[in-house]
């Protein structure tokens, strides 16, 4: 029953998000044709487009009928989505939104998964150590460092990393997801190369993300360390390592589990600029192109994928929360957010 309730809530959220984004995107100034007009105007004279054609031309590139009422467009759209059809891209001739997303999503998911796992792993370990050494120089220094890196925008870090490690030191590639000329496949060389190309984008997210996690973990841990049950555990002679890992660590981690899932949504949003900087062929890259080109179907398709990803992650968090916190299973509360 609980699962059904949560699934129902997720579905309602999903439809609400589709509705709101549909409205917001349609409220954007301009339309798909305006992008082509802008491009022609920018390069006017050299692009094989008659200026007298400029106005009629723009109508040729709109694959929905602007005279159809918006509510009809909306109904058609939702119906198609529920059938798994995200429509036809306006700016990528002859390509469906589904095919573009299938092409791009694996790269974004790969990049974000590595980045999120590393961010949380580094942040949690550092935060725990900081808590146990509360007040030490290490704690003070790490707190300052964590706050500093947490306040650096990831795209600034990305540009800095490109400048240092790519332009100046030539250690890492500046762009792309794998080497030109390399045959994609599950070969060690290809896999190694994919990780190698992901190094700088991942580092940009991890370096600017772990600080926040560490500070949160530190706070949670310090709070747990001060609890009575920890004192009792010490008095009972429970080994310190066991207290740190099983008692403090586990309880301090609980609130962060939900954060981990919610951060997926933030990371997807962040991938837009990151993928642009590194010419990484993921969803963010296509989303930006879709926005530039006023490609409504493509924009909507990617928004929906991001929404679905966040909803699924939160749903997973909800449904699995009981596994890491037995109190929830015992009926003390079920929702992770």
């Amino acid at each position: 029953m609980y699962i059904l309730k949560r699934l129902g809530q997720a579905f309602v959220t999903f439809v609400a998000v589709i509705t709101v984004t549909f409205g917001l995107i349609r409220a954007m100034p301009g339309g798909p044709a305006d992008y082509i007009r802008a491009r022609v105007m920018r390069n006017r004279g050299s692009e094989g487009v008659s200026m007298s054609e400029i106005n009629s031309l723009t109508e040729a590139y709109t694959n929905f009928d602007p005279s159809t009422p918006v509510y009809v467009q909306y109904f058609d759209y939702v119906t198609n989505i529920l059938q798994g059809n995200l429509g036809q891209s306006v700016s990528f001739a002859g390509q469906s939104v589904n095919s573009l997303i299938i092409k791009a999503a694996p790269w974004t998911i790969f990049l974000l998964t590595i980045a999120i796992l590393l961010t949380f792993a580094v942040g949690i370990v550092l935060g725990a150590v900081m808590a146990y050494r509360e007040g030490s120089r290490f704690d003070t220094g790490s707190t300052v460092l964590s706050m500093f890196v947490n306040s650096v925008p990831y795209y600034v870090a990305a540009l800095l990393l490109v400048y240092v490690f790519s332009i100046q030191l030539s250690i890492f590639p500046q762009s792309g997801n794998y080497a030109v000329g390399l045959e994609p496949g599950l070969t060690p060389i290809f896999i190694a190369d994919v990780f190698y190309h992901a190094a700088l984008p991942v580092a940009s997210l991890v370096l600017t993300g772990f600080g926040g996690v560490a500070i949160t973990m530190r706070g949670n841990s310090i709070q747990e360390i001060g609890e009575d049950y920890i004192r009792v555990a010490h008095l009972r002679g429970v080994p310190g390592r066991r207290i740190a890992v099983r008692y403090v660590g586990r309880n301090a981690l609980l609130p962060m589990y939900t954060n981990l899932m919610i951060s997926v949504g933030f990371m997807f949003g962040g991938s837009v600029i990151l993928e642009q900087i590194f010419a990484y062929p993921g969803l963010g890259n296509y989303l930006l192109q879709g926005i530039h080109a006023r490609d409504y179907p493509l924009m909507m398709g990617i928004f929906i994928v991001i929404t679905a990803a966040v909803l699924i992650c939160i749903l997973i968090a909800d449904l699995t929360y009981g596994l890491i916190d037995p109190r929830v299973s015992a009926g003390e509360g079920k929702e992770a957010y």
Partner: protein, 590 residues
């Protein structure tokens, strides 16, 4: 064969080479490169790498469909070459065999073949016919110059011109044309056009043509490089050895590589071997390594300040003139950066900058000496004040007021994304503010700007280029008095200007469109100059848009692996060196 480059290679260059090659190694896949699994593939003189910012797998191969089209200048040949510095033309894929009366015969270059065999089919009259017919379907420049077209033997096409068209205008019209329309691919459209009798039918064909997309397997070019393969990182073309100029090329591949949109980093990072045209920020010029060569050529383009001719203030010719007097075009050009020069006499005449970024007087060659002297310079703020006062404007406490008592102020609309434009228009804001005219810059998202502001005529003053990147004044006048009239709310049928040589004389009716019709068919050079004089004067006085500057386009080459002419060579003065150098043997892999 140019020897440039070798002499310039010093110690720092060698360091740069190793750094760039190291980077290439990184780009190729560090894990593999470090393990020695790869090597000798790039940077070894076999592949020229050029940047693109789109995923090559998203290309479609109908270049007339503007949605992600693939069409590359090395894959197909340009009809002719135009030398900006001396205004001469050189035939390339097509030669003008005959140009007499109202007939022009164009012939395809011998030995030019499609990439569909070894060698492929010859490029013939059908293909050239297809090029010109598809051009008519989309209504581009050349199609406005002829009324009938016939195949003339295997290799030639005969055009019946729209009167006795001026040959220079005809030749200028042929610029920016590539022979990339094989008849076998566009046959249906050509036949539909032949059968079409109404404009609506042509519009339907155009709509279908603009939306069609072709598979890569079907599309074959005729240039020195042929399509090989593509994935999401690159598109590779290989040397087509049957091209007439293939012997001038000593490397095997031409690669388009997807890179970051941060072009400055891409260029400085050595990810590519050259860039056709990149207006880089000053920092790139300063940080460029020794082996990164840049040269310039006139863009045949510059920034302008278009007026809304239905605006309460700017519908008045004297107000447009007055504001033009207050704007410091030299400062506009200086603030654009190192690659701009001011327009000396705003009158629609291209040629105010040379390939070395110095002022040029090429524009004077387009009018008579007398007119070059007479064209008004707009550099006298005092006259501007007199003109405003004459129209009922008043200056009190350093602020100008309109005849109705409101402050005289304006918003200059600019596309937000085109940040290199902003200093030019910010200069105008400063000039006007200093004069006591309220001015501000409004940055508008680019697509919205063009669609809802400039082309909608929704502005008081705005920003745009003042040419269609062609050298002949005719095409500039065509922009002002035919194409952009709707955008500027300008009515050329009811235009008034002072008499020639008398800027302050009484306004009288002028007919720029009538003069343009005469110019188009003026066979005699003297007659053409006289008509151009009149049109230049009208433009100079009516100021449809104030032409501010003319800029240069910079081209970039890495000389560690490639040998190209010295930057001051005249060979750069033709769009684009990156396309012409390989064909002419002016670019060699080291």
């Amino acid at each position: 064969m140019p020897s440039h480059g070798k002499g310039k290679l010093g110690k720092s260059n060698r360091q740069s080479i190793s750094r760039r090659h190291l980077l290439r190694g990184a780009a190729m896949g560090g894990a593999m490169a470090m393990a020695g699994c790869l090597g000798g593939v790039e940077g070894d003189g076999e592949t020229f790498v050029e940047p693109i910012t789109v995923d090559p797998t998203n290309y479609q191969f109908n270049h007339l469909n503007l949605q992600h089209p693939f069409s590359h200048a090395m894959q197909s040949d340009q009809l002719q070459r135009y030398f900006i510095n001396d205004g001469t033309f050189e035939s390339y894929a097509v030669n003008i065999e005959e140009f007499e009366g109202d007939t022009a015969v164009l012939k395809v270059r011998d030995d030019l073949t499609w990439h569909n065999g070894d060698p492929g089919d010859p490029v013939n009259a059908d293909d050239l016919y297809t090029k010109l017919v598809t051009d008519a379907i989309i209504g581009d420049t050349m199609s406005t110059l002829w009324t009938d077209i016939q195949r003339d033997g295997d290799k030639s096409v005969e055009l019946t011109l729209d009167g006795t068209i001026n040959k220079n205008l005809f030749r200028d019209g042929l610029n920016y044309y590539w022979l990339e329309t094989p008849f076998r691919l566009y046959k249906d459209y050509v036949e539909r056009w032949e059968d079409a009798t109404t404009d609506d039918e042509i519009a339907d064909i155009r709509n279908d043509l603009r939306n069609d997309s072709f598979d890569e397997e079907k599309v074959k070019g005729n240039g020195p490089f042929q399509f090989e393969e593509r994935d999401n990182r690159h598109l590779k073309m290989s040397l087509y050895e049957h091209h007439p100029d293939a012997d001038n090329i000593n490397w095997k591949n031409w690669e388009l590589r997807k890179v970051s949109t941060d072009t400055a980093s891409v260029l400085l990072g050595g990810e590519v071997d050259g860039i056709r045209n990149y207006s880089a920020p000053e920092t790139v010029f300063e940080q460029a390594p020794d082996d990164l060569l840049n040269a310039q050529l006139p863009a045949l383009w510059g920034h302008s300040l278009p007026f809304n001719h239905e605006d309460d203030d700017f519908s008045n010719i004297r107000v447009r003139q007055a504001v033009s007097e207050f704007i410091d075009r030299q400062a506009c050009a200086d603030n654009y950066g190192r690659l701009g020069q001011p327009v000396e006499a705003p009158s629609g005449l291209v040629g105010n900058i040379d390939g070395q970024n110095e002022p040029s007087n090429r524009w004077e060659n387009k009018v008579s000496d007398e007119m070059a002297e007479q064209l008004y310079r707009y550099d006298d703020p005092e006259r501007g004040r007199e003109l405003l006062r004459g129209e009922g404007y008043q200056k009190d406490d350093d602020t100008w007021y309109r005849p109705n008592g409101d402050p005289f102020e304006m918003t200059i609309k600019v596309p937000a994304g085109l940040t290199d434009w902003h200093p030019v228009y910010q200069t105008i804001v400063d000039n006007l503010e200093n004069e006591g005219i309220g001015a501000e810059l409004q940055r508008i998202e680019e697509s919205t700007y063009w669609a809802d502001h400039y082309t909608a005529g929704n502005y008081k003053v705005a920003s745009t280029g003042w040419t269609l990147q062609r050298s002949s004044p005719y095409y500039v006048f065509d922009m002002y008095y035919n194409i952009d009239t709707e955008f500027m709310n300008l009515d050329p049928e009811n235009l008034e200007a002072p008499p020639m040589g008398e800027p302050d004389g009484e306004l009288q009716s002028v007919d720029p469109r009538g003069l343009m019709e005469e110019l188009l068919v003026a066979q005699d050079e003297e007659e053409a100059t006289a008509i151009t004089d009149e049109l230049a004067w009208i433009t100079n006085q009516t100021v449809p848009m104030l032409q501010l500057n003319e800029i240069n386009d910079p081209v970039w080459f890495y000389t560690d692996d490639w040998e190209v002419p010295d930057p001051d060579s005249e060979k750069y003065q033709s769009k684009w060196p990156l396309w012409w150098f390989p064909r002419n043997g002016d670019m060699q892999a080291k």
